[in-house]
Symmetry: C2
Subunit: 488 residues, 2 copies
Amino acid sequence: MQHGGPLTHVHANRSRFVSELMEFVRIPSVSAQPKHAGDVKDCAVWLANHLRRVGLHHVAIITTRGHPLVYADWLGFSDRPTLLIYGHYDVQPVDPLDEWQSPPFEPVIRDNYLYGRGASDDKSQMFALIKALEAYIQTGGMLPLNVKCLFEGEEEIGSPNLTSFIEAKRDSLSADAVVISDTRIAAPDRPAITYALRGALSLELEVIGPRHDLHSGTFSGAIHNPLQALCEILCSLHDRNGRVAIPGFYDTVRQPNVEEREYLRRTGPTDAEILHNGESARGWGESGFTLYERTVLRPALTVSGITGGYQGIIPARALAKLSFRLVPDQDPSQVDTLFRDHIVKVTPRTVHSVVRTSSGAKPVLMSVNHPANRAAMVAYYRGFGTWPVFLRSGGTIPEVNTFQETLSVPVVLMGFASPDDRAHAPNEKFHLPNFFNGIATCIAFLQELGTCHVDVLSSFPSKRDAEVGTIRRCQWLSKHVAVAERGP
Amino acid sequence: MQHGGPLTHVHANRSRFVSELMEFVRIPSVSAQPKHAGDVKDCAVWLANHLRRVGLHHVAIITTRGHPLVYADWLGFSDRPTLLIYGHYDVQPVDPLDEWQSPPFEPVIRDNYLYGRGASDDKSQMFALIKALEAYIQTGGMLPLNVKCLFEGEEEIGSPNLTSFIEAKRDSLSADAVVISDTRIAAPDRPAITYALRGALSLELEVIGPRHDLHSGTFSGAIHNPLQALCEILCSLHDRNGRVAIPGFYDTVRQPNVEEREYLRRTGPTDAEILHNGESARGWGESGFTLYERTVLRPALTVSGITGGYQGIIPARALAKLSFRLVPDQDPSQVDTLFRDHIVKVTPRTVHSVVRTSSGAKPVLMSVNHPANRAAMVAYYRGFGTWPVFLRSGGTIPEVNTFQETLSVPVVLMGFASPDDRAHAPNEKFHLPNFFNGIATCIAFLQELGTCHVDVLSSFPSKRDAEVGTIRRCQWLSKHVAVAERGP
C-alpha cells in the first residue's frame, strides 16, 4: 500500500478509532429487552451518523416492525463487483450483572482488551469493516469496489424482520458477495474463515399444573409439581451418554466425512483448548467425537433457561427455554415436529405441556473454493501475516441462509473474534490487536475482491450441493493446507 | 353472654372491624424481600398502636436481628391461667403479580370474601383473636384470664430469630397454654382443630459448571449444562411412583395407625375436595394413600423454585429451592444429612453441587385430650354452632415445636382459614363469616380456658410421647366423634 494510503490512515487514527468504538459499545442496544428499545434506536441513529461521516451515500434508518435496520452504500463503479456488508449493532442482555468486573456499558481497556457488552459480538467486528471503508474514502475518495452496507438491530433475537426485508428488496440489495464479520479466528496468530454454521431452533416449553400456585405444606405429596414434571420431561431429552434422545433426531444428520474430520483435527482447537475457552474442567457429550466435533459437526440441545416458582409453593406453571443447534441435513421445522411429538409422548397425565417455537434457522455450508473466500484468504494473510485456516462454527447466523437462498450470493464469514471473548457472557471483551489486524484484513479484502471480474464471481455457484461441496472442499482444503504450510 | 357483653360489642362494630382488618392487610409486610423491610416495620408499628387502642398493657416493639416482634399483655389475675397468643403479621411475596385480579395490597371485598395478600395467612386469623380481646376489655374492662401476645414478622421466612428470643425470655413468656390461629377449618360449617403438623426442611441446591455463562452455539454439545445437570439431579429425588428416592428417607417415618387412618378417612377431605381446593385435575404421589394422607401422614419433597440461565447460553450455574415436609419421627437434621449424601452420590463429575440449608422444623403432634383443646372444642361449638373435627395439617408452623419444647406448654391450633383460601398464592382471600365466627370462637375460648384451674391444666403433659399419644388420641377421638355425632 502506498504512502498516504488506507493503512497509513488507520495508523494515524488508531486512538480515534478506539474511542469511536467505545462510544459505540457504550450504547446499551439490547434487542431482547423492551426497556432498551430506545437505546437500540439511539444506536441506529449513532451508526447512521457515523456512516455519513465516513463518507457513505444513501444512509438511511429503515424502520421495521421491531428494531430498525441501517443502510448505506457507495456505488461508484459500473464494472466492478458489489459487496454487501452485513453486521448487527444489537447486543445480548447483560445478566447476571453482578458478575461483570466493570459495568457492561461503560467500556474500558485492560491489557489491550476492550471490555463491554457487544465488544466482540458484534460491534468491534462490524466496526473494523466500517473503518476499512473510511480508510479508502478518506484517503483516495473512493472504494476499490461497490459496497452496500446493511446493519441489523435484531440479530440477537433471531432476526424476525430481516428475511422479509431482504426478500422485498432483493433487487436493490443485489450483490456479488456478502461479507460478515461475526465469527471467530482460532487465535491472534491463527486467523480463520468459517465455512459452516450450525442451524438453530429456539423453543419454549411450558408445563402447566394447578390453576394457581399452591401452598407446598397443604398440597405437597398429592399434586404433581409442574417444575418437577418439567425436570422429568427435560431429562427425557438426553440419554445417559449425552445424546439427544428424541426419536428420529439424528436420522437426517449427515455422516461425518473422514477427510473433513482429519482436516478439522489438524486445524481446529483441541479438547484442552475448548475447555480452557469454556472455563470448564471437563468435557461432556456424545462419545466418539472430539469436543470440537461435538460443537460443530454434531447437533446439540441446550436448556438455556428455566423459570418457575419461588419458595414455599407448588408453582402453577414452569417454563424452560430450549435451544437446538442443528447440522446438515437437519431442518428446523422437521426437528420442531419431532420435538413436539416427543413432548406429547413424555408429558405425564398429571400436567399439560405447551410448546412455543421462537425461531428457526437452517444449518449452512459455504463453498470454500469460491473466489470470494480465496480473496478473504489473501486478505487475512496481509492483515495477520499468516494464512487462515478454515473452521466450522457451532454458532448460528440465521441471515447467512437468507443471503444464500434469497440473494443467491456467496457469503464470506471473515471474523476477528477470539474463542475466549466471552460473547453472550459477563465480561465480554475484544482483543484490540485483532481489531487493527481486522481493519487491515478488510482493507485487503476490498482490494482483492475489487480485482475479481464480476463474471468470474458469478460463475461459481453461491452454495454447493452439500455432499459434493464437502468432498470438493476437502480436496481443496488438503491443497490449501499444503500451501499454508509452505507459506504464500 | 349478657346484653352489652363481648358478642354485642362485636355485633355493633362489625364494619369498623372489617375496615381495620383492611388497613392491616394493606401494609405490604413481605418478610422475604429486603425492599419491603420498611413495610414490615411499619406493620409492626401499626399493630403495636392497635394493641394499645384495644387496651392491652406493656405494648412493645422488640427489635431482632431481622424483623421486629410485637409484644403486649393483660395480667389482671393471680389465680387464673395465662394464655400466650401467637400470630404473625408478615406475609408471603406476591409473585406472580400478574395473576392477581386486584392488587395484593389493595384489599377489596367481593362476595363476602376479603381479597389481599395475608388476608388468610395470617392477618385475619390473628386479628380475630385481637378483636376478642378488645370485646372483653372494652365492655367489661377485663379479660377472663391472663393473656400474653407475641406477634412475629418472620414466620414466612422460617422464624430465624424466634426460638432464641423465646429461650432467652422463657420466664416472662411462661403460660399455661398457647393458642395460634393460623390453620384451616374443613369448611365454613365444619370447624376444625389441628392436632398434627408436618415438619419442614428448606434447602437450596446449586449446580455449578463453567466459570461463566457460555455461548450455546460455541459450546453446546461439549460442556455439561448446569441447568440440565440440575434437572438430572432433581429427577433422581423421586421414583416413578412419586415416592422420595433418597435412600433412608422413609426409615424413621412412623407406620400409619389403622384407627387414626379410619378417623382421617371419616373426618378429612376427600380426594375430590383436595383436587377442587388445589384447582387441579388429577392427583399424584405415593400409592396406597389417599390424597389427604399423602399431605398429612406422609412426607413429601417439593421443588418450589428453579432459576438459571436466560436464552442463547449455557448458564454457569443453576439453582433450585427445595422444601421437604416431614412427619413423625423424621428429624430435619437427619434428613438434611441423607439429602446431602444423596446429592454427593448423584452429582455428575462434569459439574459440582452446593447444598445450603435454609431452615428446618420438626414435625409435631398435639395432645388432643388436653383441657385446652377441649376448651377449644366447646369454643368452636359456640362460635360456629357445630362441633369441630380434629385434622392433621400438611403445613408447618415451626414455632409450635419451640413452644412445646422450650415453654413446655400445650399448643392449641384454633384456625379459621378455609382450604380454598389460596394462602401463598395469587388472589389469597378470607371468608368474612369465618372472621366473625372466629371472633365469637375466640371469645368463648378465653371464657372456657379462664374457668380451668391452673393445676388441672398443668397436670396434663403438654406433649404426649408420640406413640402413646397416637393410641390414646385415637381412642379419645372415637369417643369424641361419637359425642360430635350426637351433639353437645
